[in-house]
Amino acid sequence: MAARRRSPGPGGTATHLGEALPLERKLALYRWMRLTRTLEERLVALYRQTKVVGGLFRSLGQEADAVGSCFALESRDVMSPLIRNMGAMLVKGATPVEILKQYMAKADSPTRGRELNIHFGDIGPAGTTRGFLGQISPLGDMVPVMAGVAMSFKARGEDRVGLVYVGDGATSTGAFHEGINFAAVQRLPLVVIIENNGYAYSTPTSKQTAAAQFVDKAIGYGVPGEQADGNDVLAVYDVTKRAVDRARAGEGVTLIELMTYRRKGHAEHDNQSYVPAGEIERWAAENDPIDRYVRVLTEREKVPVATLAEIDAGVAAEVDEATEIAERSGTPAPLDALEGVYADPPRERPLWFREGADVSGLGQERPEGWGTWDAGKGGAR
């Protein structure tokens, strides 16, 4: 059995497909990663200003994994992200404005203030939507759901592929197991990516599985399994592209394990006391996916540093502008809560004690521990 790779350092995966990308697309990869990081940094600032409602979840150090994998999809394909896949959502067309509004629970946010952080989506017939499906909190549930999305592609003979992310922790759920098994048996066009970032909340992978590596689960589902260095964006692209191609060719499910590392806590309030000393610093110093990719671009691809600086500036401006737009939006009107539990009736009636009542000033207390960055307070997603 291969040893568990929990130490930083570039992996040995071949990146032929990634290397063959035209420079323009290679720079796009850089831009998405930079946008992800910059936007998250902005969210941290807003969180500390208590403008974010609820918790904040970072993907620091995992940007390559999210961006590189989703980059292998076509626009007609459908992807279901996790909390740490904001980068994948950006690639698939989610905008910083949407994300900021959503985190701030604005009235015109994608879910109109109904769901948290990046729990939103846009799916439907090819060509009409961007093709990402919002997750729900119970882990693993998106695997069966994405199997169903892929089932619709197969049933209709559409040339579309589904991709679903799960964390190392979520592999322990019944939903993950039932979903991937179902998809495998039905030979659905689905790529399942396990993002092994070493932790599930505070739980290290050694307490999540006794397997040497998650990719070892593939054979038990009768599907090809591949592992790649999740912090090498081209390697991630490569392994995902191969899997997507297989799915598109009717060869069914692939299970991919991307080796990465969660440098921030589960959410902003988590002080990571459970992490061995020096581990985070080592990954930051030796294996930051953006730093690594900058070296690839500047050293191997001979991209001038100024080009990257220009991209960075563009990203910063985009995030500034998005923040301004998002902050301008208002909060939802209380009565909006009544719309659309069912198609029919389209609207619930207010309960008798609210009929005609003025509901503008209800409640409004801000619970302690939510929407602030005091690490000592409870609350988790």
Binding site: T111, V145, G148, V149, G174, A175, E178, A343
Partner: protein, 327 residues
Amino acid sequence: MAGTEITYLEAIREAIDEEMARDPEVFLLGEDIGAYGGAFKVTDGMLAKYGEARVIDSPISEIAIVGAAAGAAHMGMRPVVEMQFIDFIANAYDMLTNYVATARYRAFLPCPMVVRGPSGGYVRGGPFHSQNPEAGFIHTPGLKVVYPSTAEDAKGLMKAAIRDDDCVLFFEHKYLYRRIKGVMPAGDHVVPIGKARTARVGTDVSIITYAATVHKALEAAEKLQAEDGLSVEVIDLRSLAPLDDEAIVATVRKTNRVLIVHEDTRTGGIAGELTARINETCFAHLDAPVLRVTAHDIPLPYAPALEDFVLPQVDDIVLAVRRLAAW
């Protein structure tokens, strides 16, 4: 076919068949529903008629089949999922209550799908093949729940459920599958979800019930008519979510005495919700307390004498109506 009498089970099959013929997006998913035709043969013949792409035998994975149905439903398909026994819907409780029920509200995603399966007791099925799990779901906003008692309604509600734009849980009473027969109305027979049915008109006491106990209530009503000269109205709810408040209010205001009967266990069963609604809307019209005849709060045992003790029986209803009439 209009004109001939068919069973409750055949009526369900006919509805599924007609909807599959009508709408190519309708497909079936479940365990042993293809070649075998389902544990109770509800989907018998469907594989031969519609092929493997539309009649899909799944692994034993209730979470996956409900979740996959949701994903397909988002994309415009219309899955009809079988639970081999409705008892196993418990395995998909998270997927149904957290994912499916909330999809439209939290994400504006349509999730038109039917989850159906053989339900209920009186068949010596023991604790895991006799359940009535409706209470755990009518509690969840976003789900619809129907539970027919006649062959006609079984067909008409199944057609409505398949056409509904939200998820409908369709409970089929296995005791009724082959015992209850009916002649299907001609044409495209659709029974709207959310409307109760007056199974028997009466003026003295109302019984509100659904599924197998509709037939127990009707039997009791005949006996009460014959022995006591009491005129008993029987309301068959058919839809448990949404409830037909109008029909409930109408019968209560008419008779002023209400008995609620359900096969489900007592505590937390739907009778409580009905009592609350009646109390809220008809307090001044009640000449007696709303009474309940239900199963005992006990996991259903399978020995005949034990099952019969735990479940509500005709004589219980007779006794309860007499008590109400004498109040």
